[in-house]
């Protein structure tokens, strides 16, 4: 059996969600890998771009930040923040964004700002960056996070980026015309959202993970009734990830 790490599984599981021709708004870290894996395997005509304005970079090396010189090298076009974000929100484009977060709630809303009181937090994080913008404007958002009770919570300490807001139609009622949370990819599995209620449910658990493990590490009641085991990474997926996408092992270290 193939050996692979948690973050390799996450990158590949998320990459599989990208459709050919999608415009993929990538962050750094695992989301970069997921986008690049997707483009090299499932969605050759996907276009990867960054909030900083670099469109379809060569990505011969992994960027360590969205402003890394590697996101502006070999691109189709270099521009700026205004152009990039107006592209995310452009009605004629299907744009899918990868985000990370410190907390997510059952409606896919995200906190990347703080734990505790906003004005005097116990723990401060980076803040929205472009997170709120892409969550507001993109066709869909895929979020990465570690699966822990304190991260998958009933109530966010701060709602930085809106997913399905309070469920149902509440997102549209805010004036957000499209978009919403597509999936949350954790180290334990893949979470989707019910079509009507917009509540989170467990779609797939990764090989070696149990449904109980997922439930124990989730801070709210999670529908697991339709959960099945995810397909493990294939040899091809792993080879491309390790040899082409991140040969320096900057993001994912394969298991010893």
């Amino acid at each position: 059996m193939l050996k692979y790490s948690n973050s390799e599984m996450m990158a590949i599981a998320a990459g599989r969600l990208i459709k050919d021709g999608d415009i993929v708004f990538a962050g750094t870290g695992v989301s970069m890998l997921a986008a690049t894996v997707a483009k090299r395997i499932y969605a050759p005509r996907a276009v990867i771009f960054f909030e900083t304005g670099g469109i379809d970079p060569a990505l011969d090396e992994i960027p360590m930040a969205v402003a890394d010189l590697r996101v502006m090298s070999g691109t189709a076009l270099n521009s700026g923040l205004i152009e990039a974000f107006s592209t995310v929100g452009h009605r004629k484009l299907r744009t899918v964004a990868f985000l990370g977060a410190a907390q997510v709630d059952q409606y896919g809303n995200l906190n990347t700002t703080c734990i505790g009181d906003y004005h005097r937090p116990q723990k401060r994080f980076s803040g929205s960056g472009g997170g709120n913008d892409v969550a507001s404007l993109a066709t869909g958002v895929i979020t990465f996070m570690q699966h822990e009770k304190r991260r998958l919570v009933e109530k966010l300490d701060y709602m930085t980026s809106v997913g399905w807001y309070r469920g149902g139609n509440s997102r549209q009622e805010l004036g957000l015309k499209r978009g919403g949370a597509v999936a949350v990819v954790t180290n334990l599995g893949l979470l989707h959202f019910h079509e009507e209620t917009k509540e989170m449910y467990l779609a797939e658990y990764f090989p070696g993970v149990t449904v109980e493990q997922v439930q124990e590490n989730t801070g709210f009641a999670l529908d697991v009734s339709n959960a099945k085991e995810a397909a493990p990474p294939t040899a091809e997926e792993l080879a491309i990830l390790r040899e082409e996408v991140d040969p320096q092992g900057l993001i994912c270290q394969p298991p010893e």
Partner: protein, 325 residues
Amino acid sequence: MTGCSEIAERLFSLDQAVEEFIFDGCQLAIGGFTVTRNPMALVYTIIRRGIKDLHLVCHSNGQGMDILVGAGCVKRLEIAYGGNGRYAPTCIRFRRAVETGKLEFEDYSNYQMALRFLAGSLSIPFIPSRTGLGSDLMELEGFSPEVRSEEKVASRKYARIDNPFSAEKEEVPLLPALNPDVALIHAQYVGEDGTVRIKGLTFADLEQAKAADKVIVTFEELVPRSFIRQDPDQNSLASFFVDAYVKVPYGSHPTACFNYYDYDPAHLNLYRHMAEDDGRFQEYLGEWVYGVESHEEYLRKVGIDMLLKIKASPGIGYAPGLDRK
């Protein structure tokens, strides 16, 4: 100053430029984004000269923002993202300052901050935006009413109006324009005629420069008029927007400058380590900022070995194979 076609009288040293244009309490915007093209040489000079009470208006100006906050120069901060990529998912001195109540701060998003600079650059008082709806960015204000009443601080974080062009009720959020007192930009090229050319991504630099009352541009290379005018479609900022030019090779180290040099991973890791502890951070400032008399001395400390390692490869724009862990 308008319309000067040659820049002799606007060439300053780092110290002269900071002395002339940056004052205690001024509202400041810095160019670049996280690990790239921050105007670090000017930032160090600001710290060294003891400028205080800055009102910093940032989108994601990672390294420059963090060290200004850490050095105690910043009283008030508007910010979208206080991180520095993989080298500091949350900027450490920023985080410490917020957690210990040392800063007046208010959160926006990157697009919102960029649009606020755009509005300022267009001389319009506000601009609509579709982002922020429903989120705590719109629900929670960071600044107190007292702060709100001060000059250059928006009287409200957002406003909402009904779209006057829509038959159905449709609420549209409005963002207040930003017009900082000073913008600091680092560019690759300045022509003898004062024209500025930035290569690679421009982030919100051009909006920041056009929104600001005063603009200081540091640059890698002074190039002939014939060079900069060979392809004017590539140029970024006309001379008449710039109040001071300072030639500073490696002026954005340890952040990167496309086509010139990559970020310095060793220095960013050193910074992270030193920033994690209050005492160590003072040591860092002592060694790399206060204890350094000139930019040349700073570069000698970085060392030619590192400068060669981070040198960008032509046609690629970064340093391929650089050890970035």
